[in-house]
Amino acid sequence: MSYITINNVWKEYGDQVVLERINNTVEEGEFITIVGASGCGKTTFLKMLLGTEAPTRGLITVAGEALRYEPDSERGIVFQRYSVFPHMTVLQNVVAAKEFEKSKLLARLFGTAKQQATEEAMAMIKAVGLSHAVDKYPHELSGGMQQRLAIAQALIKKPRILLLDEPFGALDPGIRADMHLLVQDLWRRYKLTIFMITHDLKEGFYLGTRLWVFDKDRLDPQAPGAFGARITYDVPAGEVDPNAGNIIEEDVQATAAALKQSNSDQSQPELDGATP
């Protein structure tokens, strides 16, 4: 049986169908990159994997068990922003996970327990290349460094699944390249199963082992919310016909144009991160 199975999953907000009939399986250790027009439901899909949203129909199983609809330490996440704790230094941000685990009441460690956690955290910080900044606060770090920290933080729990929602969207192209190397390295080293959303098709092809394109294959211009997006392409990445990229790009842009139209006709779309 596959590690993750997605079985006829739908997600609807009221009348609006965001995702429909998603069926797929993922093996352990795959690196799946996800692209798609803005607003087509990529983040929504990731949220379902994370457990902060439940599918309105269908079922997701992980290792044969139904997914828990609550975030837990099985699944790590890195968001585009706000991903690290601003009131903790780099070291504290990473050690925190250990403290949550070992000290249920105070959520703080002391003495040798602390020393051990610190050592482990330092190793992880080294892995993401932040050793020279352990005592800095996030606001003293550049955007790229903050995302490195977010990754270190997620990885110290050794999650089996790592979810990345446009983790490098806010970074400069130069820094982005560094981050690609980092993520690929960590993915291999820790044998993670990664889902990563990106806006950059090139990035999508280059990074993962498999590229998913979310898109609406049916569109009703009168009621843009009537049909949801699906996985319209599911192609192996890394070594692929460059032409495929162009076909996909055209499709995505057509959907993007349609969505843009409908979004500006309705009012503002909801923000992703509504408070819980």
Binding site: G76, I77, F85, F100, H139, G273
Partner: protein
Amino acid sequence: MKKLINQHPTKPFRWLLGVIPFLILLLFYVGASNARLAENPNDKLLPAFSSFTDAMQRMAFEPSKRSGEYVFWQDTASSLERLGIGVGISALIALTIGVMNGVIPFVRANLSPLVTAISLVPPMAILPVLFIVFGLGELSKIVLIAIGITPFLIRDMQQRALEIPAEQIIKAQTLGANTWQIIVRVVLPQVMPRLIASVRLSLGSAWLFLIAAEAIAATDGLGYRIFLVRRYLSMDVILPYVLWITLLAFAIDYLLRVLSKRLYPWFHSQTPEGA
């Protein structure tokens, strides 16, 4: 000539500009005071500056004939103690309830409407009830301050806790944190500098309630002294006391700001104005 909007005064000139209104006020006072004193040398409404120094000399540096205390310092100590305890307790309550309200939806549903309702009740109007419940001693003064500012602080804390990006709360959960751990490690520490900011905002009201409480029943305190000497219009005492309160208010505000900047550098780097 640049547009007015693009013209910035140089530093010394800015300083000068800032001082001018105070000088004008001062001149205005001296003029009015002289005019009144010329008419009635015993006039108490706008005393000359010498009367201020006399009065302060008497209250701050000579032991009182009646009690042997240095009245001014005694008043200051009592008032600051009440203010400190009152504001401290309010902050503590606000931190607890506000954070709970902000973090736990069930608690919020339960308490938020009540807090809103209480925040709308004018505390002065229910003074009699307060006395009866809390007595007339130090407690009631502290309680008046607390009742006056706590609802505001709670609502602010709740708001601030709700403003913590959902991403952080989710992140904490993926790191294995439970509700309690999220509160103590993620929400509380981030809300602390905001608590200081809210306390700074509410200190004005706190002083107001302190003075009102001291006017009602007390044997010392800055508010007590002002209301006592008001009986015979001793502006020579009242005005220096008001000035002193203003200075104290400024000093406390300043100290809190500095404290917050020192303790929570990460917070102040987010808010450019250091609000």
